[in-house]
Amino acid sequence: MNERQIQKFVQRYLDATGCHIVEKSPAHFHVKLSPKADRDLTNRPYYWSFVDRTGAEPETMSLLLVTDKQKYDNQTAAAAANAQQKDSSAGGGAAGAAAAGSGASGTANAAEAALGRSFGYIHGTLNTNIRVPREDLYFGSRRLNQLFESSRQGGSYLCLFQEPDKRSNHPLDSTAYSAWLGVNMKVEFACDMKREEFHSFGVSLATGQCIEQFHDRLLQYRMTPKLPPNVHTAKNAFTLTKAAAIAEQTLERKLRTYDYSWAAAASKRLNEELETINHYYQPLLESAEEENKPQIAEQFERRQEEIKWQYEPRVTASAINCGIFYLQGIG
């Protein structure tokens, strides 16, 4: 994700969670969090359990979310310079006054920088003189990962209806809808290394038809949580479990066509490593004093487990999120 994509992501997250945006630019948001977002982002479980128990009016936090650090810093520096210029020209003083001004702010900056350094590695918060904690959201930053995690928590299970293309003219007309199981999966190919793939499946509960890239298809529709008028749903011929099995089979068929030389290589490494430690521990065991044997045997076993843990190739498929989607037509 680049700065622009992050900016867009944050904007949509803040909207979806009902946060109040106090001020924004293409490089930042100054935002007062909604209770939902505050719960997910500020890590204040004690405070929220207090609110929940006492029914007190919650006071949510405000954050300064910087999505483009460089741009934001330039903006603020330019603004500060402007303000200063105004100051000195307003004061009517000559160059001397300006120099004195910059000297004073120089020390202030140094003091701030010192403070920032001492706290920076905890939060980067006290660095700014406004009281709103500043968070730099770059890809991989903790705060952005929290946003990711929060959207995953708040967007796991759905039940949605496609909005009809056009209002039907006749009040007694009824459009047929059928239910789909949609599931977005992450497939992990792991040994001592790892890669991942994203797969999205939709399985019609009416016909059992399975289509790939289902998520992309959903994005083309307008979806609503409410059942639209003049719509009837087809009878489900497949249970969720059956539909899930169909999705899994589709995935499995696909995965079977892949190249597994990486797994074979990992197995080979695994066996070599096992052989190496075998070569080391076997003679050790044989020559050891009787009383020391159990200890060595235990060590041996532990190393074997460690090596399997480290190298054993495995492929796992798990869901990112899923839902029931009612789409027009009989799929």
């Binding site: 350094r117 590695y121 994203f198």
Partner: protein
């Protein structure tokens, strides 16, 4: 032992053979939860959040086995090329078990951080334990958080262990009750800094690390071999047992003598699959010269009177006491303090006075000394220091052992219109950095009581005054190391202020002439002291000599000379062995590359 990414144990999962060497496992938790919500008709989540979740996952997706994903999430710094290539090698060729043996200053911490971060980004490491010497714990925490955005915490309380990434000192970790807790845990990754402390199989450190359950493991050390090849064998066996065969096999295949390897080529090959050693290119280890100057000073009459009075006091107390070492040591400290400043003695005397019983006759004697202090109006050393500072007209750092002396000097310099800033161990991080900034900027003088710890890198300053000298040579070396380091462009001038006819005179001659401390290669002192200080540190030995010889100046001189001679003998031995080590070193140096470092 569960791989990190396995679903929760209770979660329903299906396993099927996908290929002869790999199973496919489906996690079905989601289906159960979905069914549950269907049955209860909700609650249902938000459509936008659902889309955001997919976008987030897609952006985090690890597309290939062998690129470095972590590089795109390190906004605040750029690793050097050799650090990146080292990380790659550890990840892709060594499967995450390696000895990082770069020479000092090439960034082993950064390399380890890159490897750790990469595994974390890929979801292969969640739990990580980092064991380092106590003095480096906070530095590691800072680096991991600041440079890598890894939420590492320093182990402080028992519950700290519950965090995902914990930095702790080896000494804490191996002790009860921590030990059992750590041994019961599976660590996805273990990192050990200063791993040469694991070279001996019989130590508790070694056995403890051997028992820890770990998947990936990095051992960091700049000196994988200090004395003989067995150390190397032990270190590698800890990491990967059998890599060099059994102990006997190793001895038969690779060892002629404890410092003389054979079958270099095979040994090199075996080493290069577990060890990476980057070295500075020789042309670049360009240290500037050290110019050491002792400044002998005669104490003023009043100061000499105080010194004599304190010496007499110490001798009497030593005679009376029945060998209570701790109180005797503080007596010796008194004598050292007189050589520094009256303020330093005063503080110690006041404390001593407070600790003495009210009816003790000692109180009167202590008070007499305080009276002698009163008559002192100037400080010979401070005047000389001032003169030196004015003469050099350049940045200078003054080291003293005593807080009180530091305070005195600050006042003295201020009174003489010389800008000086303090630096001491007790300051918090922010204040330390601030003081450094001030020194770099407008202050000509930095007065420091502490030389240890990172963060005081003073390459921009090339003058140093030892206002007084620590008795622990390592601390002297640390002081020098702050100034005389990579990036220093000028020759370094070191001035030792030394009062004639006092204990200080002996110490300066011992450190300067016998150990040749001021001209030793970095790291050498470590070896010398390790051999010398079998039972007792040099510092303690000196204190004991002082007390035992009583007031007999000649006897003391002779004893210290003996001490000095045995130290210089050890120095010769160590230097000789360094030459002998060249065969081992050349093998180790072949493991890795030479790095041009531009300071």
């Amino acid at each position: 032992m569960q791989p990190t990414n396995d679903p929760v144990k209770e979660a329903p999962a299906v396993k099927r053979k996908l290929h002869p060497s790999v199973d496919l496992q489906f996690d079905r938790t989601w289906l159960h939860n979905l069914q549950d919500r269907v049955d209860r008709n909700g609650p249902w989540d938000d459509w936008t959040m659902y889309q955001l979740a997919v976008e987030a996952e897609q952006s985090k997706l690890i597309g290939s086995f062998d690129d470095l994903q972590c590089l795109r999430s390190l906004p605040s710094f750029e690793p050097m090329t050799h650090q990146i290539s080292t990380a790659r090698k550890v990840l892709h060729e060594m499967s995450g078990r390696a000895i990082l043996a770069d020479e000092v200053g090439l960034g082993k911490t950064i390399e380890a951080g890159l490897v750790l971060k990469e595994y974390m980004v890929r979801g292969l490491v969640r739990k990580a334990l980092i064991l380092v010497p106590a003095s480096l714990v906070l530095q590691w925490v800072r680096e991991l958080n600041g440079k890598f955005g890894i939420s590492a915490v320093a182990q402080k309380k028992e519950h700290s262990w519950a965090n995902d990434v914990v930095v702790a000192s080896m000494d804490t970790a191996k002790r009860d009750p921590h030990r059992d807790r750590l041994l019961a845990q599976d660590y996805d990754m273990l990192i050990i800094d200063e791993a040469h402390k694991l070279k001996n199989k019989k130590t508790t450190n070694y056995q403890f690390v051997n028992q820890l359950r770990k998947k990936y493991c990095l051992l960091l050390t700049a000196t994988p071999v200090q004395n003989d090849l067995d150390e190397l064998y032990n270190l590698i066996t800890l990491l990967k047992p059998g890599q060099l065969g059994g102990q006997n096999e190793f001895a038969a295949n690779f060892v002629v003598d404890k410092r003389m390897p054979k079958n270099e080529e095979q040994l090199h090959e075996a080493l290069s699959s577990v060890m990476i050693r980057n070295r500075r290119s020789d042309g670049d280890i360009h240290f500037t010269k050290r110019i050491v100057k002792n400044i002998p000073l005669n104490l003023s009459t009043e100061e000499q009177a105080l010194y004599d009075a304190v010496t007499k006091f110490v001798r009497e107390r030593a005679g009376e006491s029945d060998g209570d070492w701790s109180s005797l040591l503080s007596l010796v400290t008194l004598q050292r303090e007189v050589c520094s400043s009256r303020d330093a003695v005063f503080v110690t005397l006041v404390n001593m006075f407070k600790k003495t019983a009210e009816d003790s006759p000692l109180r009167a004697k202590i008070w007499e000394l305080v009276e002698v202090i009163r008559s002192i109006t100037s400080n010979t050393k401070a005047e000389k220091a001032m003169e030196l500072v004015r003469e050099m007209n350049d940045k200078v750092i003054i080291f003293t052992e005593y807080r009180a002396t530091q305070e005195y000097l600050l006042n003295y310099f201020r009174a003489n219109n010389m800008v000086a800033v303090p630096y001491r161990g007790g300051m918090n991080r922010g204040k330390k950095d601030w003081m450094m900034d001030l020194f770099r900027g407008r202050a000509q003088v930095l007065i420091a009581t502490e030389a240890g710890g990172e963060g005081i890198n003073l390459q921009f300053c090339s003058n140093m005054i030892n206002f007084d000298l620590p008795w622990n040579p390592m601390r002297v070396e640390q002081r020098i190391g702050r100034v005389h380091r990579l990036g220093q462009t000028s020759d370094v001038r070191i001035y030792n202020l030394c009062t004639i006819g006092t204990i200080e005179e002996h110490i300066v001659s011992l450190l300067h002439e016998k150990i040749n401390l001021f001209e030793l290669v970095i790291g050498e002192l470590d070896h010398i002291l390790e051999r010398f200080e079998k039972n007792e540190s040099l510092e303690q030995r000196l204190a004991r000599l002082m007390l035992e010889t009583g007031g007999n100046g000649d006897l003391l001189r002779k004893q210290i000379d003996d001490l000095g001679n045995s130290l210089s003998r050890i120095r010769d031995e160590v230097e000789f062995e360094e030459d002998e080590m060249s065969a081992i070193n050349s093998i180790m140096n072949a493991v890795g590359q030479t790095i041009e470092v531009r300071p």
